[in-house]
Each structure stands twice: as C-alpha cells, then as structure tokens.
C-alpha cells in the first residue's frame, strides 16, 4: 500500500507527470492502515499571532489511506493548522515531519514539492484562465504550456477518481463544486500524496457535499491521505475515518478509527459535542426554539419582488412576516439571498414588486427612509460594507444616521451627544473595546457584530433582516447573537433570518423559505420533517 503510494509520487513531479494509470491500487480497509508510520506528523506546533495563540502545542498524525477530519468551531485554529501544512505560515515552535524526516514548509511551492496539495475554502484558481491553463500555471517561463498533454492527463486522473470536467472551459464559468474538483484533480496531477480540503463543503449543496464525501472515499482507496476540515459534525462522522477535535487553539482529543467504529454514530456524536463545546454543551445543542403562534396581521409584506442583476436576478418573491415571527431563508450561498436582503433594505433598485411595512408601502423610499420607519438590516459583510474599519466605534454606531439630530445640529457634529450614545450602546450590547474612539476594524469579529447589532436593533426597530448573522464568529458570540435574534422576535419584531447554516435556520425559525437561483422555491413550517424537506428544496429536487 505504501509502496504503491510512493510509486505514485515518484512518477509524478511538480510539472505534472500524472499518476500512473495501471490497474487501480488495491484498496485496503481504510480503518486499519497498513503503513508503519504516518506520512505527515505535526509535533507540538505553536503559532502565535498578535494577541492570540492560534495553535498551542498541537500534535497531529496523518496516515495514508485515511480521511482525517479536523473538527472545530470557527476560531479553533483549523485555518492556522492548514496554513502551516500548506506553506502559508511557519510554526513558531514545534516540528513538522514528513516520512519521519523533519522539514520546513516555507512556501506553497515547497508544500507541493513535498506532496502536500491544498484545496482552500476560497478558490485558488484564476477565473479568467481555462482549466488546463490553471493546471499549467507555474511552469518554466518561456516554455509553452502543454495544453493538449495536460488535458489528456487530466482526463486520465478524472477517470480514475470518477469526475468529469471540460479541460478547456474558463474556470470562472464553472460552479463552485466543479472548481473544487478541478483543484483536487490538479493536486493529484502534481503528485500530491496528501490532500487538504479546507472547509470544502461550506459552499456546496447537500448533494454536492455528499458527492465530495464519496470522492474522498475513492481518493483514500488510491492511497492518498486526506485532511478534511469542517465544523459540521454530521459530515465529520459520515466521511471521516479519524477525527481530531480542536478547541481554542488546542488539540482536545483524537478519535481513532477503531474507537470510532466501536462507539457507533450516536455515542460518537455525543462524544464529539462534548469535546467541541465542553461538558454542558451537549444538552444545549439540542434545545430548540419554542414555537410561537404567528399573529394574523403580517408586519412586513413583500409581493412579487424582482431585481435585475448580472449574476443572480430575483423574480417573483413573495414573503410575509408577522410581528414576533422569525422566517428563515435557507439556501446555498449565492442564490440571491444577498440581492434579496439588499433590495428589501433599499440598497438596490427593484425591477418590480411591492414592499409594505405595517401596511405602508416603502419600496420607493431610500435606505434612510426605510430605516426611519423601522426596517433594519444586519449585513453579513461586517468589514466590507457594515463598517468603516478605520473610523471610531462611536461614528460607526451612527453610520446610518449621519446628519440626524440630536447627534448633528445644523450639520455640525455634537461630540458629547455622540459619545454618550456610543457609551450607552457599548455597555448595553456588551461590546468589548478599549474605548469608544477605537477604530472598529481593530475589534474582533464578535465585537464588531455586537456593534452592528447595537446599531440595527436600537431605536424604533420594527422589522430586521439578519444576513448570515453568526458567520465567522466563535461559539460564545454565536450563542449571544442567536439570543439577540430570539429576543428581537420576542419583543415583537418581524425577523428575516438569512443563513447558509441549516442548523441555525432550523434552530431559530418559525417558518423556513428556501431560495434557489433567485427565487423562493418553497416555504415549509419548522416541524420534524423540515430538515429533509429543506434539503430537498435546496438541492433542487422537486418536492
């Protein structure tokens, strides 16, 4: 088994002599690797960034023929670990061993040389180049990319692992799932024995994630070692042979294939939850949102909303939200959720449709007008559009009220009033900051989110749109944010919750709408059958 692997690596080099295509190597039982030693070993590595220890003496073994899941919440240190394996960062302490030899992975190129290929969460392909040109990237300067040869070798690797890709298609025209396959194929063509998949399923449909799981199964049978990074527990159990749990930069525990088999799915789930969140979390994770009886009179009414957009136009969206109700909007990222939120908030022109708030038509009002009537929008792009990173917190809290009394009088700012308001918001919403004059970009994601919540939920809010409200936050801030959303609904606000995290939608919503390709393809009540119904709708299956 190991020999087959090394043969693979030997026949391949960075310039792409492909895998040898003899009969497929005999698959060994994935749970009991026959290798004497791991391909890659991280030995007590530590990595510090200003103010945080991202990885604290983390050890980690990677065996051939295994899918090794790296499981942990956002901020647990997974990305840093991946960064050190793929040559983006060097550890401050500790060693990296490959085949038992100490190495220094000083650059992405070095990682490739060592046989470590990485598929990042954000595509590492050049959109304006074709698939083969992306594969060819990195050869000698004046050489001509061997497009035909690469296409042939690509076809062979594709056939080996059971995917089909048009080698001459522009990458920008491919779906995210296809782009991921391209990256996996490329890594294999470069002779990778180790494949790192960083949050690979985050952007995929449930069906796409399943396909990827099956692909990982086929890859390890070829003797490849796969590192699969995720924060989704069900995927870890479904696809992984070995699971390492990280929490707050430390390795909490590793569950070996033997132990995983012995535990069985239910016990393993409980065990992993305990490891990920600590002892008390297991109970909380299952606590669900109490059903409310929706009141009869809708507060926010959206009828026939349509938006022109180059990538995802919206058409014919109807949605009603009652006071105190949370309507979740589930769907794969990029199916028009962002356009929908922006259109309702007033940042985009409607092509057609009506929006009423408390019976009053608001579709002709601008952002400020809608806000004054009580419509609020908590954006998911906190630093990109939600705040001005270099400006102090105090001004960011008033970003949508510039010029309004009492903070400005006759157009001139009133520093005392602004400061008082900022101090009140900071304490009310528990924003941890050195001071109200601190540039907001210097705060952690969780505290920026608190400031945004303060801005959008304070004053006379009546209806709120939350876009991916917990994206990128740590466990505590996720809990705090979800609590705020519940409180907002309990206080009688109409809430739209847009999230790509199905668990979150199921946990909080009263009803769930599913968006696909710019349309609402279905609306389901949040009952026992909701999960499977939403899954079907998301993947485009007709109900």
């Amino acid at each position: 088994m190991t020999q087959t692997l090394n043969a693979h690596a030997a026949t391949a080099n960075a310039n792409g002599k492909a895998l040898s295509h003899g009969p497929a190597p005999s698959p060994g039982p994935a749970s009991s690797h026959g290798a004497a030693r791991p391909i890659v070993t991280l030995d007590h590595v530590t990595k510090r960034f200003p103010g945080v220890v991202a990885n604290d003496r983390v050890s980690f073994d990677l065996w051939p023929g295994e899918v090794h899941v790296l499981l942990g919440e956002n901020g647990a240190g997974k990305s840093t670990l991946v960064g050190m394996l793929s040559g983006l960062q060097l550890p401050d302490e500790g060693g990296v061993l490959i085949d038992g030899h100490e190495v220094r992975i000083s650059s992405p190129a070095r990682a490739l040389e060592l046989g470590i290929g990485t598929v990042f969460q954000h595509s590492m392909l050049v959109p304006s180049l074709s698939v083969v040109d992306n594969m060819a990237l990195g050869g000698r300067w004046w050489s001509r990319p061997d497009r035909e040869g690469l296409a042939r070798r690509m076809a062979a690797v594709c056939a080996d692992i059971g995917v089909t890709i048009d080698p001459h298609a522009k990458v920008g025209a491919l779906s995210l799932g296809e782009q991921q396959q391209v990256e996996i194929v490329r890594a294999l063509m470069r002779g990778s024995r180790v494949l790192i998949l960083d949050e690979a399923t985050a952007m995929l449909t449930p069906k796409g994630a399943e396909d990827l799981g099956a692909l990982m199964g086929r890859l390890v049978k070829l003797g490849i070692a796969v590192v699969f990074i995720t924060h989704k527990l069900n995927e870890a159990l479904a696809f992984g042979h070995r699971i390492t749990v990280l929490r707050l930069g430390r390795r909490v525990d590793e569950i070996s294939p033997e132990r995983l088999a012995a535990l069985g799915p239910a016990a393993a789930t409980a065990e992993i939850i305990r490891l990920m969140f600590g002892a008390d979390a297991a109970a909380q994770a299952t606590a669900s949102h109490p059903r409310r009886a929706p009141s009869t009179q809708p507060l926010l009414q959206i009828e026939g909303l349509a938006v022109d957009d180059d990538s995802v136009p919206l058409a014919g969206i109807d949605l009603e939200v009652s006071p105190g109700e949370i309507v979740g909007i589930a769907g794969i990222d990029g199916n028009g959720q962002k356009q929908f939120a922006e259109a309702v908030a007033g940042q985009r022109r409607l092509a057609a449709g009506r929006i009423r708030l408390g019976g009053q038509p608001i579709e002709r009002l601008d952002v400020g007008g809608r806000r004054r009537l009580g419509l609020r929008y908590v954006t998911d792009d906190r630093l990109g559009e939600g705040t001005v990173g270099t400006f102090p917190i105090s001004l960011n809290l008033l970003l949508k009220q510039v010029g309004e009394a009492p903070f400005w009088r006759h157009g001139i700012d009133q520093p005392e009033t602004i400061a008082t308001h900022a101090r009140r918001m900071v304490s009310e919403f528990d924003v941890r900051t050195p001071g109200i004059e601190t540039a907001i970009g210097k705060l952690s994601g969780g505290n920026i989110q608190k400031a945004l919540l303060a801005r959008e939920l304070s004053g006379k809010a009546r209806a709120v749109i939350f876009a991916k409200p917990t994206y990128g936050l740590d466990v505590q801030n996720i809990r705090a944010t979800r609590q705020r959303i519940r409180e907002a609904a309990d206080a009688g606000l109409a809430v739209i919750l847009i999230s790509t995290d199905l668990e979150e939608v199921l946990e909080l919503s009263d009803r769930i709408a599913v968006m696909s390709r710019g349309q609402v393809v279905g609306m389901v009540g949040n009952d026992a059958a909701a999960r499977s119904r939403v899954g079907e709708l998301m993947s485009g299956a007709t109900p």
């Binding site: 200003p50 103010g51 007033g346 940042q347 601008d366 952002v367 400020g368 806000r371 954006t379 792009d381 990109g384 559009e385 939600g386 705040t387 001005v388 990173g389 270099t390 400006f391 102090p392 001004l395 970003l399 949508k400 510039v402 010029g403 400005w408 157009g411 001139i412 700012d413 050195p434 001071g435 004059e437 601190t438 540039a439």
Partner: protein
Amino acid sequence: MSDTTQIGSDALPAPRSGVWRDRARLLALALGPVLGAVLLSGLVLLALGVNPFAYYGYVVDRGLLNPYGLQATLTRMGPLLLIAAGLIVAFRAGIWNLGGDGQFLLSAVIVAALGPLLAPHMPVWLVLLIGLLVGAMVGAAWSVLPALLKAYQGVNEIITTLMMTFLGVSLANVLVKLFFRDPATTVPQTRTLIVADRLPRLFDTTISSGLIIGLVAIIVVHLVMTRTAFGLKLRIVGANPRAAIHAGLSVPALTVATFAISAALAGLAGAVEIMGVQGNVRADWNPAYSLTVVPLVFLARFNGFASIAFVFLFSVLSIGGESAARRTGVPNFFTLVVVAILLIMLGITEYLDQRRRAAGK
C-alpha cells in the same frame, strides 16, 4: 480598482494616555521625510558640482529672511493653499483629482480675459468678486466630465482628470493665442489687469490678500471635513464606498459634489493667481502647481493646518529656488526633484512606521 482609490486612512485617534507620544510620532513622520529629502537633494546638488550649503543658504535667504522674498513667499502661498484645500476634499473623499493644473489654468485664462473687460464698467470689488466666482465656476466646469464618468460609469478618475488637464492646458493656449490675445503686444498674452484693479495688498506690504483667501479656504475645508455631517459623508465614501451605499448615502451625488468643490478651489486658485499676482496670462504659461502640491497634502496627512505649514515650506523653496536659479545656475526644475524625493521619502517613512508599529505589538 477599489483599492487604488484607498488613498489613506484617517489618522487613528490614540488612547488618551498616549496622546503626546502619538503627536511626537506624527511630528517625526512629517519631519523625517523633509530632512531626508533635503539631505538627498543636497547629494544631487553635490553630484552636479554645486555646493549644497551655498544653494540652500541662498534659498533660505531669498525665500525666508529677505523681506521681499518673504512677502513673495507669502503671496505664493495663496493659490497653493487653495489648491491644497481642493486636494484635501478630494483625497479625503477617496477621489484622485489629478486635473488641478487644467482647472487652474483655464480659470486663470478666463479670469484674465474677463477682468480687463469688466474693470472700466464697475467698481473694483465687484470685478474681483465676479472674477473669483467665475474662476471657481470654470474650474468646477472642467471637472464635470470626469465627475460624471466616475459617478455613473465607474471610469477611473486618475486617467480622466489627467486627460482633462492636458486638454485644458492646450485649450488655455488656444484661447490666449486666438481669442483673448492683447492686440497691443507682440508676444501672445491676454490684456493686463492694472495693479489698481487687482486683489488688495495687505497693509504696507506686497503680500496679496490672496493669502487670506487661501488661509480661510483651507481652514474652512479642514473644519467641514472633520466636524460636519457633510464632511463625514465624504469621508465615509472615501474610506469605504460600499459602507456608504450600505448606509444609504448617495455615492454618485457625493462624488460629483467632491469633484465640483475640489475643482472649484483649483479654479479659485487660478483666479487668485491672476488677480493677485500675474495680472495677465502669457501663452504657454503653466506653473504646474497642482501636481507638486499633491505630495505636500500627503505629507500633511490631509490635515488643513499641517498643510499650511508644508505649503509655507514649499513656497520658501520655490521662491528661493527661483532666485537661486539666477545666482547659482541651478534651474528651477530642481524643486521638482526635491518634491519627488520628498514623496518617496514619505512612502518609506510610512512603511517604516508600519513595520515599527507591527513589531511593537
């Protein structure tokens, strides 16, 4: 393209305890490049076989110590301050208005043509007032095209404003040579506004009251940008245009307003230069102030008061350099070299500071 328009971030307010250390840092950041530039330019002089001490000594003497030199320096500051004020508005709003020279020169030509026409028919103060207004309007008009292209088509304003500058400089020459030419002279130039009809001088000096206009303009601009809702809106657009859209600001309207104000101030500078100093425009005259003021405004970190200081320094160098050109044989172009070195020094200082702060954390 969005990142290229990320001109600079506002200076970060420091926690109260470190205010003085912070100010010392800012002072070092501002003076470091100046000293470095003086030193390096001295080496350039040395390489050209000129004694740098003699040269700089002459510049300081003629630009600062000599009373007539000082008065010329202060007069020169007027238009430069107006240009600087215009650049502060633009840069804080994230707009690269590099078209100041065209805006300046066209306004100068129109005002120079208009002044002598109006002067016989109305009181001086009215001529001057109309001149200033027309100058501002001409400047603003010359920015309409880049403004609209930027606001509604997203066309990079660096390119369009530069093109408008070249166009404007040529157009100004055409106007002087073909339309506004003074028939009484052999050299193509506009008719001359007599000294009595120009901007009044201050007290018993030769300093033009253009200095006052410039000082008022830059201080008002500073206060508007830092203390008012309008200024804050412009700064939001400049620092993060997407946040501006998110907050419901009308980015296109604010962009057009920024161009208009910035270019109007450059136009005003042209009017002040003509009605305060030159009195007429000769063909092919182009002092090219605007591009040289850019580094000064950067050096001042878009702060109005700091800009006054740097404009003063530059005026000394410029007036002193003009005198020195005659005496030491170093042509005026040398100031361009100094400014370029200054700009590069500024970049390096900024970089070193970033590194130092990153290391300090």
